[in-house]
Amino acid sequence: MALHLNLLHEEILQQRQRQRDPLKIGMMVIAGLGALMLLYYLWNAYKVLEIRNRFGQAQHDWLKVEPKVTAAQKRSAELNGIISTTKVLDGMIDSRFFWAPFLEKLSRCVALNAQLTSIDGTVQEDGRITVLIEGLAAGREPRAAAEELRQLLLEQLGQSYKEVKVEFKTLEDLDTIVKIGGSNQAMARFGINATFATEAAKPSPTPGARSKAREPKS
């Protein structure tokens, strides 16, 4: 075996030590990682720039639409307001009590031997109507003439209104004699209370408890 002498032993060892320097290797690793991270960062930054462009576009689109939407929302609220106000006003109009048809019916009930001296009618909060009618009736049987008027009124009002009640408040004979058609006739003074409800009258706010379940229709 040939003898091999390494005279540069120390120099080679130093060179190897320089190559294996941990700081140098670490710095290289860090630099490599740094480069990778920088690349990743740049890639992300590029994507963010792209997103920023999209964001700008979306903002631009929204700014273009926003005034129209605001105006539309305002108009929509206004229209809804108009619709609901009109509905409430229409409800008020529809729930009115018309006095003219009532007066017409009343005039139909007054015979020649009767005379009304006063009418006092009120529309109640719940939509029911109360009317006090006062007058004079003449005839051989003046009370019967007044009763005839009451019954006629009940019949007439019953044709158009609900829950009609027509009752005498007062009915008294008078001493006065009146001449009708050439004959003397006795007189009576009457007061009639009429109460009724229109179709639009509100139902009672507190209905009584239901006694049993509703039966199905056969």
């Binding site: 670490g26 539309a72 229209l79 005039s107 006063s118």
Partner: protein, 191 residues
């Protein structure tokens, strides 16, 4: 498996520690000051884009809905305008009594008067811009049939007027005629 034994001198250990510390600092700085804010801004922008796109999409629906509503509300709008037109400009006390006087004069009932009794706002929120006025309308002399026709005409001409009380008394000196008092409630636009 072959175990690798690394013999490091003190100086080398120092350098390794220094490199590790540098690496940790680098990672911290990278994530905290570079990638973190970048990702945060990206996420914020994406959320804002979603929000804006949602708004734009909704706005299209909103515009369509409003256009539909506009068509549906045509009748209500014209009716509302007609009801509003029943209240002229100015204080009702200035124009309502003359209007009633003229109205009854046209119905051959003279000397009609209208006095304002009360006025109040409506409780309904839908009628926030409307006021209720209660008037006392007096007709000193009217015959029954003329009165009936006049009341019918009034109720038809003034849809927002509602007679809440009606009193008629025969005149003692001339029972053919009645003295009439009506309490009427009207809805009028606030001016």
């Amino acid at each position: 498996m072959k175990a690798v034994k690394i013999n490091l001198s003190k100086d080398q250990i120092k350098k390794v520690l220094l490199s590790s510390a540098g690496f940790i600092v680098l990672v911290y700085v990278y994530f905290s000051f570079f990638l973190g804010p970048l990702n945060k801004s990206r996420d914020t922008m994406l959320a804002q884009i979603d929000d804006l796109q949602g708004k734009v999409a909704n706005s299209k629906n909103e515009l369509t809905k409003t256009a539909k509503l506009e068509k549906q509300a045509e009748t209500a709008t014209s009716r509302f305008a007609a009801l509003k037109a029943l209240s002229p400009e100015g204080a009702p006390i200035a124009w309502f009594p003359p209007r009633i006087k003229t109205f009854f004069a046209n119905q051959e009932i003279d000397k009609a008067t209208a006095r304002l009794e009360t006025s109040s706002a409506y409780k309904e929120t839908d009628l926030a811009n409307w006021m209720r006025y209660n008037w006392i309308i007096e007709l000193p002399q009217a015959d029954f049939s003329t009165l009936g026709k006049a009341v019918a005409a009034l109720e038809n001409a003034e849809p927002l007027l509602s007679i809440t009380r009606f009193t008629a008394k025969a005149l003692p000196e001339d029972p053919q005629f009645q003295q009439v008092t009506m309490v009427a409630s009207t809805a009028m636009v606030k001016r």
